[in-house]
């Protein structure tokens, strides 16, 4: 399903550290090597909140997908799901059940009925705490579905710095192929973008070949300008993906904040030729929500950003709603939750 992507020629003169490890995950594209910290660039970023909100509010009225197209888009969304459990009561058994759902997210008979029985559809990843990485890796053995571990003192990110780095190393050693780190919002809110950069740089180094997503926690940042700055700083420091939220803030993924992050991804791409991925997380629970994000991706960044190597949706209950919509498409009757295997 992953398409080989056209690589935008690099402007080498502007690339920072030459020591970036070769990326395995980002398709044929080159992994983001990062840029030196540039305070002037961070300072120059401008976001007009009302205009961003207007764009976000009107987009769902400008684009829609119906019938086969809707089914296809929703299946694509499933392939981009980071199926997530991040609760205090997680156990190996619970994680095992989640992983089984990750392997077979939509009922096989439904897929066959709509003519995509041979799709080998899986979710994009399973996302868990460090303690659940090993059971998840075991449960997904042979599937090629990566395990993502939230890390660095998730969700607050305020544990001792060396422990946060060690946590990454431990999760990578346990078999996580993706690490979702959280930035230190204290540094961001006090304007110490250099410190955010340095920490992110260290996290990236600790990840080694492992793919790293930077959670900027838009709900904690207070302003869209901070969202823009945090996005840019994390990409400069080598993030492969930027992610909206931990799911634990009072406000999680929103379309306006996502719009701002996507525009930063575009700007960073124009500067470096690197394609950075995006992951909205938290509060995305309906098929309609998921499609709104997909349309935002397509409109602002283009079709490559609808594929799981550049787009993930962090969600726990979204899948059920998508399954119901797929069943409705398959036989024209509204579905019920209990007709679909639970995660």
């Amino acid at each position: 399903m992953l398409k080989a992507q056209k690589v935008v020629p690099l402007d080498r003169g502007r690339i920072g550290r030459p020591d970036a490890p070769a990326a395995a995950h980002n398709g044929a594209a080159r992994r983001n090597p990062g840029l030196p910290f540039d305070a002037d660039l961070i300072e120059s970023l401008r976001v007009n909140r009302s205009a961003a909100e207007r764009r976000a509010a009107t987009l769902p009225g400008r684009r829609t997908v119906k019938k086969e197209w809707q089914a296809a888009w929703l299946l694509k969304a499933v392939s981009c799901l980071d199926l997530t459990t991040l609760a205090g009561d997680d156990t190996p058994g619970r994680v095992h059940r989640l992983c089984a759902k990750a392997r077979q997210p939509v009922r096989r008979d439904l897929l066959e009925r709509i003519g995509v029985g041979d799709l080998r559809l899986t979710v994009g990843a399973v996302c868990v705490y460090h303690a659940m990485v090993e059971p998840a890796v075991a449960a997904l053995a042979g599937s090629d579905i990566p395990v993502a571990a939230v890390s660095t003192g998730f969700p607050a990110g305020l544990s001792p710095f060396d422990l946060r780095v060690k946590e990454i190393e431990a999760s990578a050693a346990a078999g996580a192929r993706e690490i979702d780190i959280v930035i230190n919002r204290s540094h961001a809110l006090t304007g110490d973008w250099r410190a955010v950069y340095d920490e992110m740089r260290a996290f990236r180094a600790a990840c080694g070949a492992v793919h790293v997503k930077a959670i900027i926690a838009v709900g904690d940042l207070g302003t869209l300008r901070n969202v823009a700055r945090a996005s840019m700083v994390c990409m400069m420091a080598g993030a492969d993906f930027i992610k909206t939220s931990t799911g634990k803030e009072t406000t999680n993924a929103t379309l306006p904040a996502s719009l701002v992050m996507l525009r930063m991804i575009r700007a960073y791409g124009e500067m470096t030729g690197c394609r950075i991925g995006f992951k909205p997380a938290g509060g995305i629970s309906t098929a309609k929500d998921a499609m709104a994000y997909q349309m935002l991706m397509k409109e602002e960044l283009g079709v490559p950003w609808l594929q799981p190597d550049l787009f993930r949706i962090g969600a726990s209950s979204l899948l059920t709603d998508i399954e119901r919509q797929i069943e409705h498409f398959a036989d024209g009757r509204y579905s019920a939750v209990h007709r679909h295997p639970m995660a």
């Binding site: 009302s50 205009a51 909100e53 009225g61 400008r62 684009r63």
Partner: protein, 791 residues
């Protein structure tokens, strides 16, 4: 379509809005419509029909009626008959009907939207999400004005019958903008939709029937442009409201000249879209989409001239071109369409022609690669860069999806380029610096300025132009005044100037000769022609001579007034100081002015003294008003504010009446200058010496040169020169019916605002009629500045 293949391409696929219910509605009417007169459907008098097409397919939708002169008469008669009853219903009664109309618009929202898209070719997204909701909002808002009419507009009455002519680009929205305020104020309506897009107005007629609107309150006449002309010229119509081209607006101004019909014109534009280098450029690009690719660019206030700071231009152009690639041109009924069909092949070829001219004149053309649909009437989004102000495409309104771009270096240059047009409808300003935004907004000659947004509309905030973009406002409190008049106001009437007796002066020691001159640019000036006019007492004694001003004197006076810009930028407080000082100096010379009045008019001593005293009081009144005629802060549904600022008209020409020659003279120029206008005053033709005496008062009261200019002479010919002058923004004229007609006809040249009164129409001594808000409204125009905020 194969789902696996779609998962590869991730196309949107078709998403058509069902046209079935709208087509069923057309079929129910046999695809054939009559005229809506007195609450009934009537066949046109001679049975004439026009065909209404769907521009996206070229297919016939229905035949509509071609109204004749007899039909126009019948509709006006029905409206006239209905008007007293409609007014007598009272504010609350009318509010109930307007509320019902708003509700019914919402109940039929989708049918209205789909029919509008079929008829006009604009995307369903726009009719569904913008036009119809704004239409409903307009009726709700004006239900409110009807309810509050008595308390908020005391001493006002409706005008009577309003003739309303609307364009094809926003058929429903313009209908709402016209009908809602007219009905709220107690007028009845004869409305003519555009010949290409009449169907939704006919559906609205049905909605009026459903609402139980009294027969004749709303009449709808369809047909070609001649129907509009018949309405404009109809003698029994009191008000004409027109939205359309500047060319037709000018004809309407000329045709209604001197008729006493109140006029609102909402005309063309070439609105600037100004981008500073500190703007959020991604937001700006979306703004441009909303500015020029909204409704295929067929928007009078479209941000069609992109002015971008030189340093930001390459980045912005790149972003714009990339964004244009994702615009979808096609089936207007498809929910994913951004740009629908151009309304008619005629409009499309006009757009093509202008773009071709632009390229020949040196512009760089850019259009996305995706082709337009082969069938139907479409034109791709277009960006022309490297356009100079001298280019045709920088000056002419294209009325299509074509953005022309040029650069500027400084904020001052941005304002100059923005104002380098005969139009003045709207502008938008993009910067993250609020100091810059709020500095630029007042400098732009436009009725609406959008800061970091564009094409925002709301019933609470007036919309309308400066300069040749027309006059009058639609929406808000300012819009209500367009459908009301002072209850005390008398109509323009013919007057006869009494013959002047002449008589030789009596013998005795001669007085020292005084030479009254003209007063131009703060200096006394001899009349250019070198002629003087004798001034006699009522008994025929020669009192002296006044300069016989000619067109060159008017030219000089207007030039001086134009230069005296500093007066307009003074604070209200500073202007008040000068007006108070004028009062002080007039008061000190009260007996001299009273004597002069007695000599010239033969008024008794007490009456003359009373007039001087009233003039002193009037100066005090306008000194008081100078810092109190505040604008407003509107609250449309948005996080932000709309500042309704009162701005001076600019240069006002004033032709004064003969009645109360001192008081009327003072009342008029003081009202105008208190608001920051500069004036050229033609004082009373019979009693000019009272005004020439007055320039010594101005000289000693720190009135800056050029703020008040006085040209004596024959009033009507001089008023005509002022009316024709392209650098005069407004003319106030007290003259007979013939003068009124000629002045208003001449004013059509640059569409200057006119305020026409007949002598004796105003009791100058009564402060309720001789001063106050009515005068100040004529001295100002409202600029609405939209400022959404939020960090």
């Amino acid at each position: 379509m194969n789902i696996a293949a779609i998962m590869e391409s991730m196309e949107y696929g078709p998403a058509p809005e069902a046209a079935g219910p709208a087509e069923a509605w057309l079929a129910r009417h046999d695809h054939r419509f009559d005229l809506f007169i007195a609450g009934q459907w009537r066949t046109p008098a001679d049975g004439g029909r026009l065909t209404s097409l769907n521009p996206a397919t070229g297919r016939r939708l229905a035949d509509i009626a071609q109204a004749t002169a007899a039909d126009v008469d019948a509709a006006v008669e029905a409206a006239r008959k209905a008007q007293p009853g409609w007014a007598r219903l009272g504010g609350h009664g009318r509010a109930r009907y307007l509320y019902a109309l708003a509700r019914l618009v919402q109940k039929h929202a989708r049918l209205l939207a789909v029919l509008e898209t079929l008829d006009n070719g604009k995307p369903i997204r726009e009719t569904r999400d913008i036009d119809v909701p704004l239409m409903a909002r307009h009726f709700y808002h004006h239900a409110g004005w009807a309810q509050l009419l008595d308390s908020e507009f005391p001493d006002h009455r409706p005008l009577g019958v309003a003739g309303q002519i609307i364009p094809w680009n926003f058929p429903l929205l313009m209908l709402a903008w016209k009908i809602a305020p007219a009905l709220a104020a107690g007028n009845t309506v004869v409305l003519k939709p555009a010949e290409d897009t009449s169907l939704t107005a006919l559906l609205f007629a049905e909605i009026c029937q459903e609402a139980g609107l009294p027969a004749g309150a709303v009449n709808i006449l369809t047909g070609s442009g001649e129907v509009g002309e018949l309405i404009v010229r109809h003698p029994d119509i009191d008000k004409i409201a027109f939205t359309g081209s500047t060319e037709v607006g000018r004809l309407i101004r000329a045709a209604t000249a001197g008729s006493g019909k109140k006029l609102t014109l909402e005309l063309g534009g070439k609105s600037p879209f100004i981008v500073f280098d500190d703007a959020d450029l991604d937001a700006t690009v979306e703004g441009a989409v909303d500015a020029i690719w909204f409704n295929q660019g067929q928007v009078c206030c479209a941000g069609s001239r992109l002015l971008v700071q030189e340093s930001a231009a390459p980045r912005l152009y790149d972003k714009l071109r990339a964004r244009m690639d994702t615009l979808r041109v096609g089936d207007p009924l498809d929910k994913c369409t951004d740009i629908g069909a151009i309304v008619s092949p005629k409009q499309r070829s006009r757009i093509e022609g202008l773009v071709r001219t632009g390229v020949i004149e040196g512009a760089k053309l850019w259009q996305p690669e995706a082709p337009c649909p082969a069938e139907g009437c479409f034109y791709p989004p277009t960006l022309l860069t490297d356009v100079e102000p001298a280019a045709t495409v920088a000056q002419e309104e294209i009325f299509g999806p074509v953005l022309v771009a040029m650069t500027f270096r400084t904020p001052a240059e941005a304002a100059s380029l923005a104002n380098n047009t005969r139009y003045g409808l709207a502008a938008s300003v993009w910067t993250e610096n609020i100091n810059l935004a709020l500095d630029i907004a007042p400098k732009i000659k436009a009725g609406v300025v959008w800061v970091n947004c564009t094409n925002q509309f709301d019933a609470s905030s007036g919309f309308g132009g400066y300069r040749e973009s027309g006059f009058g406002r639609e929406g808000g409190r300012e819009g209500m005044f367009e459908y009301l008049t002072l209850a005390s106001k008398k109509p323009v009437r013919k007057t006869k100037t009494p013959a002047v007796l002449t008589k030789a002066a009596s013998a005795g020691l001669p007085a020292i000769d005084r030479t009254a001159k003209l007063y131009i640019g703060g200096k006394q000036a001899r009349p250019d022609g070198g002629y003087s006019r004798p001034v006699h007492s009522p008994a025929g004694a020669l009192l002296g001579h006044a300069g016989d001003g000619n067109r060159k004197d008017i030219r000089n006076a207007v030039e001086a007034a134009r230069k005296a810009e500093a007066w307009s930028s003074l604070s209200g407080h500073a202007r008040a100081q000068v007006l108070y000082y004028c009062a002080e100096n007039l008061s000190a010379r009260a007996s001299e002015f009273a004597d002069r009045l007695r000599q010239m008019t033969g008024a008794p001593k007490t009456a003359a003294a009373r007039e001087v005293d009233s003039a002193v009081r009037r100066l005090f009144a306008y000194a008081a008003w100078a810092d109190k005629y505040d604008g407003a802060v509107h609250s449309p549904p948005l996080r932000g504010v709309v500042l309704a600022m009162h701005e001076p008209q600019g240069v006002i020409g004033i032709a004064c009446p003969d009645d109360a020659p001192l008081l009327s003279f003072v009342s008029l120029w003081a009202a105008a200058t208190a608001m920051g206008n500069r004036v050229v005053v033609i004082p009373s033709e019979r009693y000019p010496l009272i005004a020439t005496d007055f320039y010594q008062v101005l000289d000693t009261s720190d009135m800056p040169g050029g703020a008040v200019n006085i040209v004596t002479g024959a009033r009507d010919p001089l008023a005509l020169v002022l009316a024709e002058h392209h650098d005069v923004d407004a003319i106030w004229c007290w003259g007979g019916a013939d003068t009124a007609r000629r002045v208003e006809a001449a004013a059509a040249g640059n569409l200057k605002r006119t305020w026409i009164n007949s002598p004796g129409a105003i009791d100058w001594f009564n402060p309720l009629t001789g001063e106050g808000r009515e005068f100040l409204r004529h001295a100002t125009q409202v600029k609405n500045i939209w400022i959404p905020y939020g960090e």
